[in-house]
């Protein structure tokens, strides 16, 4: 009964992933014979300044996006847990960005930050701040990409943390209050430790998914100007489909897989133990 699921996964993800590893060790382009080149592709990629630029951009964006999301998600979860008016409506509003496609989100944020007519650009101007020159300035481009990603994925982080917060028994807070703990003390000694597992899970998932960042960058800046806002997935795509360097792209792909594995190592180990403990009995 697990056959359909496993068949799909093996055929569509596992075998192709292994094949990418083989590709990463060969020199090939469309329609040509492949030759084995060992680790040469990895050397090429690691010697490419554009790769390092893409890696740096990815890491910076991921770190900002995931941590800001966690902080905002936590603050919102606590706000909602303290009781809000019209709760179903408020929840629906907060979840709304989850329904928005990356493409439509790019439309929204490009329009909001359009230098001439954008609502946000005008608001910045009214506050005496310079507008985000996201089409010209790579840093500004990445800031806009980060804002957009946070907006799109905050609902996920929020839901995980909110559900975890609701699972904390109310008696703990009552007991803390009876003992005369201040709100800050209650937060530090009750809320934070009990939410920690959920925060770690949310953080891990978001790290892994944020690392794949492609559409937002591709549709917002296309990696430009002058390849300066590329992230790893965009770099991989361009190597493969624009510069026809399949080997280099495959090597980048495996570096991406390895990075994801490394990020998730702690989680996988815990899970592995739990699963085999539960299933072997």
């Amino acid at each position: 009964m697990i056959a359909p699921v496993q068949a799909l996964i093996v055929a569509i993800i596992f075998v192709p992933a292994l094949f990418v590893f083989w590709l990463s060790l060969t020199e090939s382009s469309f329609g040509q014979r492949t030759t084995f080149v060992g680790l040469a592709n990895y050397a090429t990629v690691l010697g490419d300044p554009y790769f390092w630029r893409a890696l740096r951009n990815t890491v910076v964006v991921v770190l900002i996006v995931v941590h800001v999301e966690l902080l905002l998600g936590l603050a919102m979860a606590l706000l909602f847990a303290s009781g809000v008016p019209a709760r179903p409506f408020m929840l629906a509003a907060v979840l709304a960005p989850y329904a928005v496609s990356e493409v439509s989100a790019v439309v929204m944020w490009r329009y909001l930050f359009d230098v001439d007519i954008g609502f946000a650009s005008q608001a910045l101007k009214a506050l005496g701040l310079p507008p985000l020159e996201w089409a010209i300035d790579p840093t500004h481009g990445l800031i806009l990409v980060a804002l957009l990603s946070i907006w799109l994925h905050l609902p996920f982080t929020f839901v995980i943390l909110y559900a975890a917060r609701l699972a904390v028994p109310g008696e703990l807070y009552e007991a803390a209050q009876v003992d005369g703990a201040s709100p800050w003390r209650r937060f530090r000694s009750v809320t934070l430790p009990l939410l920690m597992p959920a925060m770690l899970i949310a953080m891990l998932f978001r790290y892994i998914f944020a690392f794949r960042l492609f559409s937002e960058v591709w549709l917002m800046t296309g990696g430009g100007p002058a390849r300066q806002t590329e992230v790893l997935a965009v770099y991989l795509y361009l190597e493969a489909f624009r510069y026809n360097a399949f080997g280099d792209a495959a090597a980048t792909g495996w570096l991406l897989v390895l990075a994801s594995l490394l990020l998730a190592l702690w989680y996988l180990r815990r899970l592995y133990r739990e699963m085999f403990a539960a299933h072997a009995s």
Partner: protein, 277 residues
Amino acid sequence: MRPDVILRRLLKGLALVVVLGWSLIPIAMIVVSSFKADRDIFAVPPRIAFSPTLVNYAGLWARWGDFFTGMLNSLVVTAGATILAVLASTMAGYAYSRFRHPALAGSAFFLIFIRLIPPIVITLPLFPAVNVLGLNDTHVVLIVLYATFFVSLGTLVMRTFIDQIPREVDEAAFIDGATRGQILRRLIFPLSAQGMVAVAVFVIVYAWNEFLFAFMFTTTRAKTAPLVISEMIGAAEGVEWGVLFAASTVQLLPVLLFVVLAQKHLVAGLTAGATKG
């Protein structure tokens, strides 16, 4: 009321307004602007009061017939991927919930492990493979890809839901001579309907909105709505904001409505998938 209570209420109200604005302004902006004529779209400062017009929707209909084919393709692909993913996940979820075996534990671990592989990585070998099979630019490719990327999460969610159905229910049916297939169809499917809806919500939202695979594997016939919108963004003759807003609105509203209505299931699925996985 004591002043500090009033202050706290004020701060909380302010926080709620900020949260609402952050979540809804970008969406409201394009929905409202899709009913604006160009002169109102380009007005500085933005106009709140304007006479609504359908001119952008007319323009979308007249110049981007592609978009409506795209909507239809999105519908077909989403329906196909959802059915495939939900059925496969429910079957697997049942097996993982009811049977214990080290090999099964190993394969469950594999399910989670596989989620770590970024989709873009596997497009490298799939792209030529899909071409060789003549599946390029078909609904089938997208259906299979979308379903595959959600069966692992789907299986975990279904296992959590099926775990809540007492084992005695299917054991009793088994003793009465029901086959495994009958148990699955007559008992497990109806009793785990909530979980199936939760999985369906994920797949529907994902398949309806997905960009990367559609971008890689479809060109004309099977092009989905998000892909057509992305072409509008990159249109050589410059962005037609009004038409773009109209298209985004048409693409967005059905799934937004769906998420709002299925909110409860979405939250249940997200928590079951993330914490129990």
